[in-house]
Every structure is written in structure tokens, then in C-alpha cells.
Symmetry: C3
Subunit: 337 residues, 3 copies
């Protein structure tokens, strides 16, 4: 491909040789001749100078002897070129003879059912869905178009999934919420979890993550929300749209998360809390009360970012503070004598 075609695709303007022959896209350090790379920020300019790339996506022309493509968002343009040069390999469509299909199942066009996939009764599966080996879809699930479920994904019965949803291996959608009440004999009596889970369009769920079905009603993950690996989402939560939940975060039951929320790794959120739009929770935060729109909180129990930062800094001064208190006491003793 010519660089000119690349620039058109990226919606950018070439500063340099537009007849360059492009063979692919690569990171700054791995790029060699024929590769297009990108400048993620000024701090990478030195590394870029060492790069063997033939051209670079930039936000504004930089002082560099390399052909440049000026685009509004180099990271986005680069991601799109990556997707273009490395299209997702799609398994050949078709229903393998070793897949099991329940009664009254409706399959869309062009679906891939790998060996050892198992669809329960009354399942609806949209067009172009790809199900890898070992996927289990329980009775009465409804799945939209263009979904991609990797190996050993489980959907419990009645789960609803929108379009363009990606579930990574081992993700479990719709297992029972964790609810018990003590019975007369002092045993934990299971509260039936008769609700469901709904994942809206463009949701992605990481490997071995768990989203529990609602006790009553629905656990909802709204459009465009992206969930990393090993995340726990409790029953009756409503999350997103367009939120980001990083690995090993845990969200207890009945939480409401707004739009564009960012939950850091290993964050824990207690039950029944409301996390406002565009709120951010720093890694390992422990959240025990509502978080307002746009707030950034850290620590356990969590505090607004500035307060948290001040407390951490002051806690590091505890030895000094202890010393100063001792000193004050001595001086006072002296005076009082």
C-alpha cells in the first residue's frame, strides 16, 4: 500500500513522501523500514528518533527527519490501522457436527458453532456470531448479532446479550447472586436468584470474570462498557454506559454506576452504592459510600483524590510528627520547671 492510501484511511495529511510503500504498522521500537508508527506524546520523541519506521502518525508536525501523517488523534488512527492490517481471524462459519443444539433454537445467518458448544432450549443466536469450543448457553438465552464468545464461556439461562458483545474465555454470565438468609434452624437458606443478566451492545467482558444474575429483576451492563479479567459484578448492579472496569475489581450487589466511570484494578465497592458519571476510582480503593459525578477517589476507605494524597503524604511524616510531639513535651517540661 502507498502511504497516501494510509493517510486517507486515517483522515490525515502527509508531510513528506506520500509515495512511500507501507507494509504494516508497529510500535516505535519494533518498527522497521516500511512500517508506520505513531507518537503517543512528546515524551516519546527521543525514542521515535531512534525508530526505523518509515512514517509516523502525529498530532502536529514535529522536528524530525521522517515522513509524518498529521491526524487529530494518533492513538486512535494507529489502533484503526492495526485493525486494518491485522483483521480478526474469523473461524469458518458453520455448525460443527459435535455442537449440541437444544429444542426450538433460532440460529442467525453465518454463525460459527465450534465443537463442544452447547445451546440450551429456546436459545436465539443472531447473525455472524462465533462461539468457540466449550461455550455453554443455557435455556432461553437471547443473543444479538456479531457476538464473539471465546472457549468455555458460560451463559446461565435467560441471559440477554446485545450486538457486538465479546466474552473472553471462562467468563461466567448469570450465575446466582450471593444471597442467603438464616432459617429457623440457623442454617443459611438460599434466596432464590430468579432475575437475569442483560449485556447491552458493544460490551466486552474479560477472561474468568463473573456477572451474577439478579435476585429479582436484572443485572445490567450498559452499552459500550468494557470489563477486564477476573472482575466480579454482584447481583442487581446497573453499570455504564461506556464504563471501564479494570482487572480484579469487585462490585457488590445493587450498585449503580454511571456513564464513563473508570474503576481501577482491585477496587472494591460495597453494596447499594451509587457511583456518579465520569467518576474514577484509583486502584485498590475501597468504596463505602456514594461517589459523586466526576469525583476521583482513592484509598480504603476511599477519599477524594487530593485528600487521599495528603493523608498518604502526612502518614509518611508520622515518625517526624511523633518526634516533634516528644520535643514539644520536653521543651514544655523545661519551661514548667
Amino acid at each position: 500500500m502507498k502511504l497516501k492510501e494510509i493517510a486517507e484511511m486515517a483522515g490525515g495529511k502527509i508531510v513528506g513522501d506520500e509515495t512511500l510503500e507501507v507494509v504494516g504498522v508497529r510500535g516505535v521500537e519494533d518498527a522497521s523500514s516500511g512500517h508506520v508508527t505513531y507518537l503517543a506524546g512528546k515524551q516519546y520523541l527521543e525514542a521515535l528518533k531512534q525508530s526505523k519506521a518509515s512514517a509516523v502518525l502525529v498530532e502536529a508536525v514535529v522536528d524530525l527527519d521522517m515522513t509524518q501523517i498529521v491526524v487529530p488523534n494518533p492513538a486512535l488512527a494507529f489502533a484503526k490501522l492495526l485493525a486494518f492490517f491485522h483483521p480478526q481471524k474469523r473461524s469458518k462459519p458453520g455448525v460443527d457436527s459435535r455442537a449440541v443444539i437444544g429444542d426450538n433454537v433460532r440460529l442467525g445467518k453465518n454463525v460459527t458453532l465450534s465443537p463442544f458448544v452447547c445451546l440450551g432450549d429456546n436459545v436465539v443466536l443472531g447473525d455472524n456470531c462465533v462461539l468457540y469450543p466449550g461455550v455453554f448457553v443455557g435455556d432461553d438465552c437471547v443473543i444479538g448479532d456479531d457476538c464473539l464468545f471465546y472457549s468455555n464461556v458460560t451463559l446461565y439461562p435467560e441471559t440477554r446479550v446485545g450486538n457486538h458483545v465479546v466474552l473472553h474465555s471462562g467468563a461466567v454470565i448469570g450465575a446466582d447472586g450471593f444471597g442467603y438468609t438464616l432459617d429457623e434452624a440457623g442454617r443459611h437458606f438460599k434466596i432464590p436468584q430468579i432475575g437475569t443478566v442483560k449485556l447491552e451492545d458493544h460490551v466486552e467482558v474479560g477472561a474468568n470474570s463473573c456477572i451474577d444474575r439478579a435476585n429479582l429483576g436484572v443485572t445490567l451492563v450498559r452499552e459500550g462498557t468494557k470489563i477486564d479479567n477476573l472482575v466480579q459484578i454482584g447481583h442487581n448492579c446497573a453499570i455504564g454506559p461506556h464504563s471501564i472496569i479494570v482487572s480484579q475489581a469487585g462490585i457488590a450487589g445493587s450498585c449503580q454506576l454511571g456513564s464513563y466511570v473508570v474503576i481501577g484494578g482491585q477496587v472494591g465497592i460495597a453494596d447499594h452504592l451509587k457511583i456518579g458519571d465520569k467518576a474514577m476510582l484509583m486502584s485498590q480503593a475501597g468504596v463505602a459510600r456514594d461517589v459523586p459525578d466526576g469525583a476521583i477517589e482513592g484509598g480504603s476507605p476511599s477519599l477524594p483524590r487530593k485528600e487521599y494524597g495528603r493523608l498518604v503524604a502526612l502518614s509518611h511524616k508520622l515518625p517526624e510528627m511523633a518526634k516533634r510531639i516528644k520535643e514539644l513535651e520536653k521543651r514544655l517540661d523545661e519551661i514548667e520547671k
Copy 2:
């Protein structure tokens, strides 16, 4: 059904119209005409006043123009009615031709072996067990009656499981404990994990949770203990009976947990510790020493709840304390001059 029958089932007394026709049970907000709901606590009375439910389970009569059923424990009565109106769907019993059964396996009556279930040699499986697709049961496992294993559950060889045990999708029971010792060449030499796991009656294990086999001896989860998703239980632990372990908690090797212990979400417990009966560990606690019976601890490293609460409160006053120390120093400087 008539409300009278419901009241009998719940062991309650009707205050109001006992001829009401009941079509189901629902939460306060979702209920409509014909539904029975319940009052979880006085704080929900306002919400109940807005509810369209036809009757409500209460602990004591409340001032409300709605038929009431007075029961000793409304939450329990409600859970039981839920279970009655929404019985667990049981797959048709039978051994699917695509299930694999090893040599010398003993199957109880009325079992369900779904497609792609795999039972190793010498497995014993009790009556009425239901195994979903992709369940793997290793050689020499012994499983009691009325167990329910969801898709892709793994039991390593020699695991023992009691009656009425529920294992959610992706749970792994009996993987090797994590133990190595450095060899002469400075490599990690694996300490063989030749023990087993035993799950007693009425244990429930959440999705993608892991309970490791013992090094020597047995990792034991006692009767009625309920474990949430993504929990780690190390080798040689003994847990329960009737304990609750919330999602993403991790219990290192050789811990002893008593009865009715409650472990919050993301709690970490170091190895070889003893957690007393009815102890409670708050979410994200990090436990590094034994916890006595009935204690409630929080924080990392954990402290008794009151101390922990005081420290959190005082830590929030660190900026003020720093200021006051500075002020004292100034005043003393002034005096000393």
C-alpha cells in the same frame, strides 16, 4: 392460589382479606396486583406504601392499608415463597450419549449427565445429581446425592463431595496447593500435593472460585458453608461449618476458620491463622494474626472494628494534627524567646 394457602405455607397469620388470589411474589417496587411482597425493615415502609402489591409479609402489623401476613421472619418467608413459585428447573434426567464415563463408575438414580461431561475412573455419583456440560470429574472422586454442578466445573482426582452441594461454573476443586522449595540448583522444586479436598453437605461454591487440594491430608469445607465467586482457598484449610465467604476473598494455606464466620469481599488471610467462631472480617481486611471468637476486624493489617474505626477517623484528622503541632511549636518559640 388463595392468600390463606400462602399464609399457611409461610406459617403466618393474615390481617386482612384472606381470600385474595395470589399469582406470585415480587420485590416491593416490582410487585403489582396479585403479588405478595415483604417488608425487610421499617426503613422500607415508605416504599411499601407506593407498592402495588396485594399483600405483604411483615414481622408485626404496620399502619398500612394493605393485607398483611405476620410471620416471625419476613425475609425467610419471602425466600421460601420465591423458591415455591420459582422452582429450580431440573434438566431431564438421563445420561447423554456424548458424556464420557470412565471405568468402574457408580451412578446413582435419576442423575443428569449433560453432553461433554467427563467422569474419570472409579467415580461414585449419588442420586439426583445434575452435571451441566463440560463438567470434569477426576478419577476416584466420590459425590453424594442431590448435587448440582454447573458448566465447566472441575473436580481434580479424589475430591470428596457431600450431599446437596452446588458448584457454579468454572469452580475448580482440588487443584494443587501452591508449594515449592528451592533445590540444590536454586530452582523451585514442586512439593507434591498428594492430599485431597472434602466439601461437606450443603456447601455452595461460586463461579470461578478455587479450593486447592492439601499437601498432605485434606482441605475441608464444612457443612453449610457458602462461598461466593472468585474466592481462593489455599491448601490444608479447614473452614466452617456455616461460614460465609464473600467474593474475591483469599485464604492462604492451613488456616482454620470456625463456625458462622463471615469473610468480607477481597479480604486476605495469611497462612496458618485461626479465625474464631462467629468472627467477622470487613471487606478488604488483611489479616495477619489469629482472630478470636466473635471479633469483628477491619483494615490491613486488621484491627478490632472499633480501633480500626478510630484510626480511620484520626487519620482523616492528620492535616489538622500537623497544623496543631506547628502552632504549638510557634507558641513555644514565642514563649522561649
Copy 3:
């Protein structure tokens, strides 16, 4: 077996009756007549005195009326004897007719492919590998000799695995790294994760752990590194050799861990950090900056062990410090009057 043979195997010297008949090895408490046990440290001498074992592995002769085998490293010798007396049961080699093998697959000698194993196209699998039921190996994976993959392990396409690698049930190797960038419409646009994962020789990965494929390049786990259950390793990390990562730890993208690093349970490490050789991170540490070689750190945000210990101790004195400040203020008030 005679004790003499055991001693030779362990490279040790017998002090006592070398004609003893040995039937097995056991822990101090569980041992009975005919068993060899070991002394893990002087603190277990009392327990050893109660033991019914016939002989004991010791580092140096102890004052005890029991036959002793003096070895340089009793724990290692004991582990080796355990492995000798309890050899890993190997499934019979052979390719089950219910395993699925893609096009152009190269199988080594003596492999075990259990039912419901699925190998993609172009997979290379070395000699003596054992794959349990439900293992999925994506296209173009290359796997060395003597590997052991338990049930429901997933390898995404192009994963490279060395020799003697053990993957426990539910481990997911090579799922997409977690990377998005906002597009023009404010949606999370997926950054294609076109890199791979490489696991070197003697790596072991615990149940339900996840190691993500690189964005570009490779996520690397070096020789002899041992990873516990439910661990998350982000894209583009390079870890080891000979490191230990305990359960539920999470390592964000692009981290570099040195050799013989020990990461405690539930530790979180932010992205792009460097953890030096032989560094140790205490359980639940939250690491937000590089850790030098040999350092031991704890706390969140983490500090060198001594500082962390001092801060914890001082934080426990906060109530006292608050009181002393108040006292000082009173005394000063008095003086100023």
C-alpha cells in the same frame, strides 16, 4: 524399602537403624510406624517427639530417640521422597476419538488428548504432553515436551509454551490485553491486541489465572516462574525467571519483573513498573513506583518494609498522639495565661 535405600536416594547419612522397613513418607503428625517424616525447623521438635514416625530427615542430629537421616535440606529431601512415593498418575497415552484436531497439526510421541480437547490448525504439541478434557488450544500455538494442561485450560492462538509447563484448570493464556482509546464519537475503540504470550520452561500457572497477550510484541513468563490461582498478568509484562506470584495478585500491563521476585497474595502492581531481582512484595501491597533489587515492600502505596512497619506501629499510636497534642495545648494555654 529399606531405610538405607531411602537415605541413598536423599543423599543423607543414617544415624540409627538402617535396616528399617519404610512404607512411605508423611508429615510429623500423620506419620505412623514405617513412615519417614522430616523436621522443618527446631520449633517443631516437640511435635516430632510425639510423632509415631520410624525415621526423620534432619539437617543436623537432634536429641531424640528416633532414627535420623542427616541431609543438607530436609524439606527438599522430603519433597523428593513424596514425589517418589506418590508419582503423578499419567493418563494412558493416546488420542481419544472425541478429541478434535485441526489441519496441519504436529503431535509428538506419547501424547494424551482426552475427550473434548480441541486443537486448532497448525498446532505443534511436543512429546509426552497430557491434555485433560475441555482444553482448547487455538490456531498456531506451539507447545514443547512434557506439558500438563488440566481441564478447561484455554490457549488463545499463537501462544508459545516451553517444556515441562503445567497449566491448571481454567487458566486462560493469551486473551486480549485490556486496551481501548476513545474514538471520535466518544466510544471506547478497541486497540487490537495482535501480540502473543510466551511461557518458558518449567512455568506453572494456577487455576483460573489469566495471562494476557501483548498489544504488540510478547507477554513473557520466564523459566521456572510459578504462578498461583486467580492471578492476573497484563499485556506486555515480562516476568521472572524463577519468580513466585501468589494467589489473586494483579500485575498491570508492561511491567518488568526480575529474577526470584516474590509477589504476595492480592498484591497490585501498576503498569509500566520495574520490580528488581529478588524483590519481595508483601500481601495486599499496592505498588505504584519501581522497586529496586532485593527490596522488601509492603502497604498501599507500598514502602520499604521497615518504613511500612514503623508507619503501621505509629498509626496505632494515633489516639495517643492526639491526646498528647491536646495535653500540650492545655499546658501551653496554662502557661500563656
